[in-house]
Symmetry: C2
Subunit: 115 residues, 2 copies
């Protein structure tokens, strides 16, 4: 059974959360460290981290009194796969191919050479 994409897409829908992901791409960070980069309270950042966790996009480990947040980019894989379904629609080479086929098809309508 495929993973539930909804919590992941949901997590990605907020710009603050996307920023957090890129920050964690650089290095693991505590909640306080993440909060330092934003103009909002630590509690608000914490909520974002919970949403990211729900989407499977981060993991948290305790280290003394600190909680270290790490990027779990594997959760992006199903999202990329979902997008892949549409790849044939926006790949420019395929666009060219499609145009060619359509031109061919319209030719077929005019001159039926199939008998």
């Amino acid at each position: 059974m495929p993973p539930d994409l909804q919590p992941t897409f949901r997590a990605l829908a907020d710009p603050t959360r996307r920023d957090i992901l890129r920050m964690l791409g650089d290095r693991d960070m505590t909640i306080a460290e993440v909060s330092d980069h934003f103009d909002m309270t630590r509690a608000a950042v914490k909520k974002h981290l919970v949403v990211l966790g729900d989407g499977g996009l981060i993991t948290v480990r305790a280290e003394g009194r600190e909680k270290i947040n790490s990027l779990n980019a594997h959760a992006l894989r199903p999202v990329a796969d979902w997008l892949g379904w549409f790849e044939s629609f926006w790949d420019t080479r395929l666009d060219a191919l499609k145009s060619a086929i359509e031109k061919e098809t319209s030719n077929d309508t005019g001159h039926n050479n199939n008998d």
Copy 2:
């Protein structure tokens, strides 16, 4: 300047809207046709279509009294690019490489990890 990703990510965050996109991948549809596939009013579907339009994911053309909605998958390109930034984190081959490097690094510390 790069396009604003926010409206697109926002549009993708709802399962109904993602379903609509896949439907439009098969063929263009009027609002009424799209609505037939969901257990909600046409007005609700219309709202979803507006959000998809804000995200650049669909285009609409008038045809008599009907409005034909088409997929514009090109708007997914920036999203795929955004995801691409993380690709190095979840590519399985790179994972293997990373594990190897980490193993090498832990060896460098002089610790024996066999005990």
